[in-house]
């Protein structure tokens, strides 16, 4: 698999790149890079409504992404956005502003990424809506008792499927069940789960699901919102422009009926074509086996780091992601990351766009190792070896 990813041949400071920043963004296989290259070199044109050959090819390429998304995730409606963040903002504007009113409540969790917090804070301020944050417990799980207690009066539940900081997979089936029994819709932030699991959207039962291509081997600049037919019917247009309208006159406009209603302007054509290939690539991976493999590496790594005196923030249950967030008792995280980079190890430090979670954990940030399917156990072992050397020389 590794030879399909050209960047994995790269050297950093004379050492082979060991890319452990996959929760931030994943690398791209040749098939994805080449498809975009080929599009720009052979088929580039604007989509929809045009008659010429290139426009036909571009339109088919763009729409193939929607088909691939619907097929992979078993969804009826796939709106293409610029990423998870825009997908969530789309729900806030297109669904939230039309379906919520003064005094309604939205449930969030303390584990949310800023992208699933800030849009709701802005909406809450505009519409006088109450935000209820479900706390994260000492064992790094959500307090489900408090969730059940908080559900009354809530119209929407926004929950991260897998935490990008902890790798913890939340009990979303249960959350969806409780929410629906209480008449609340559910938005799933699947930015971290879509790359790591086979998700059946219709079966899972969420109303909205947001995720980004770049975290699942696809290009930057594109993502999607899956929506059930019912929720789709409740959505009002968000951004206005070309492609999302049926007719425009100076007296008023009418809108498209399908997903294009929410895709104003020239869409992300090359990106859609690249993403289609990334989905094909993911379809070809035995995700269950690969997930088990990298999760075991993560468990091993967590233990090694604990033995070296690190504080590790992870659970590593079977559905959790292969993410290891940790802190050195005294050494500054960015210093550590600089030293790791000196030998080619790419890890992330900082607040990971999840400050409320860190506030609950009473820390400012972590060092985060996040694995993906192209990572090997040997890489993890070499990480531990070098990490041990750093500890001996610097700590």
């Amino acid at each position: 698999m590794r030879e399909e990813f050209p960047i994995l041949q790269r050297e950093i400071n004379g050492y082979p790149l060991v890319y452990f920043d996959n929760a931030a963004t994943t690398q791209k296989p040749n098939s994805v890079i080449n498809a975009m290259n080929d599009y720009y070199s052979n088929s580039n044109a604007n989509v929809h409504r045009a008659v010429h050959t290139l426009a036909g090819e571009a339109t088919e390429g763009y729409e193939s992404c929607r088909s691939a998304l619907k097929a992979r995730f078993n969804a009826n409606k796939a709106i293409i956005t610029s990423g998870t963040t825009e997908a969530i903002n789309l729900v806030a504007h297109a669904w939230g502003r039309a379906n919520l009113s003064d005094g309604d409540a939205i449930i969030l969790t303390e584990m949310e990424h800023h992208s699933d917090i800030v849009p709701w804070q802005m909406l809450a301020q505009e519409m006088n809506i109450e935000l209820r944050f479900i706390p994260v417990q000492k064992d790094l799980t959500l307090d489900m008792d408090l969730f059940e207690a908080a559900i009354e009066g809530a119209k929407l539940v926004c929950v991260v499927h897998i935490s990008n900081v902890l790798g913890v997979c939340n009990p979303v089936e249960k959350i969806i069940d409780i929410a629906h029994r209480n008449g609340a819709r559910v938005l799933l932030d699947a930015a971290q789960s879509a790359p790591h699991q086979d998700i059946n959207f219709e079966e899972l039962g969420a109303d909205f699901m947001a995720f980004s291509a770049h975290k699942m081997c696809g290009p930057t600049g594109i993502g999607a919102l899956l929506v059930t037919d019912d929720a789709f019917d409740e959505m009002q247009p968000f951004m206005g422009g070309g492609d999302m309208i049926e007719t425009v006159s100076i007296r008023g406009s009418t809108y498209q009926k399908n997903e294009q209603k929410f895709e104003a302007g020239t869409p992300r054509i090359a990106e859609a074509i690249g993403w289609t290939e990334a989905i094909k690539w993911l379809n070809s991976v035995d995700i269950k086996t690969e997930h088990k493999r990298i999760l075991n590496s993560a468990r091993w790594l967590a233990n090694q780091l604990r033995n070296l005196g690190m504080k590790v923030y992870a659970r590593h249950g079977d559905n959790d992601a292969a993410v290891v967030s940790f802190l050195h008792p005294t050494m500054n995280s960015e210093d550590l990351a600089h030293l790791l980079d000196a030998r080619g190890f790419a890890v992330r430090t900082g607040h990971h766009c999840a400050q409320p979670l860190l506030e609950r954990l009473e820390i400012n940030g972590t060092v985060r190792v996040s694995l993906y399917f192209y990572n090997t156990h040997e890489e993890v072992v070499s990480f531990v070896e070098y990490f041990t050397e750093i500890m001996e020389r610097f700590a």
Binding site: H48, R49, A50, V51, H52, A55, G56, T59, E60
Partner: protein
């Protein structure tokens, strides 16, 4: 299903043409095969949706034989209607219902057209088949 001799011949003729312009030219000529539905009879119920231009079709059953009238503001679309005319007009409705849009693919005309036009053809085909089915059922 078995195609009519006329349709088989037409498919063969199309297959022999490599040049896209000539193929389009032939489609244009087939516009004359259409039993014209005058534009003053175009209504919302005759309209083929999802076509970029105006395209209208009307189905009647004479005994169980299909009577197909059509009209469009695009000659190309009307040519496609001409092809459909040759495939179904005057034929027994029960046999017509076995037809799939494959014959048009076999001709190579669908991939000579922009995706929206070939979708338009499929929409027209589906609408015509649905009408025939409805009217057949109404006769029972």
């Amino acid at each position: 299903m078995n195609y009519s001799a006329e349709l088989v011949e037409l498919i063969e003729e199309f297959k022999e043409i490599d040049d896209k312009m000539e193929r389009l030219e032939m489609v244009f000529e087939l516009a004359d095969e259409v039993n014209l539905l005058p534009s003053d009879q175009w209504t919302d119920s005759t309209r083929v949706h999802g076509c970029q231009s105006e395209a209208h079709v009307k189905i009647g059953l004479v005994n169980s034989n299909v009577n197909f009238q059509a009209g469009a503001d695009s000659k190309l679309v009307q040519g496609l209607m001409g092809i459909l005319t040759m495939a179904i007009h005057g034929c027994d409705a029960n046999i017509v219902l076995e037809l799939t849009p494959n014959f048009a693919s076999e001709m190579g005309i669908l991939n000579s057209l922009s995706p929206s036009r070939s979708n338009g053809f499929r929409n027209m085909f589906d609408k015509v088949m649905n009408e025939i089915r409805t009217q057949l059922e109404a006769q029972l």
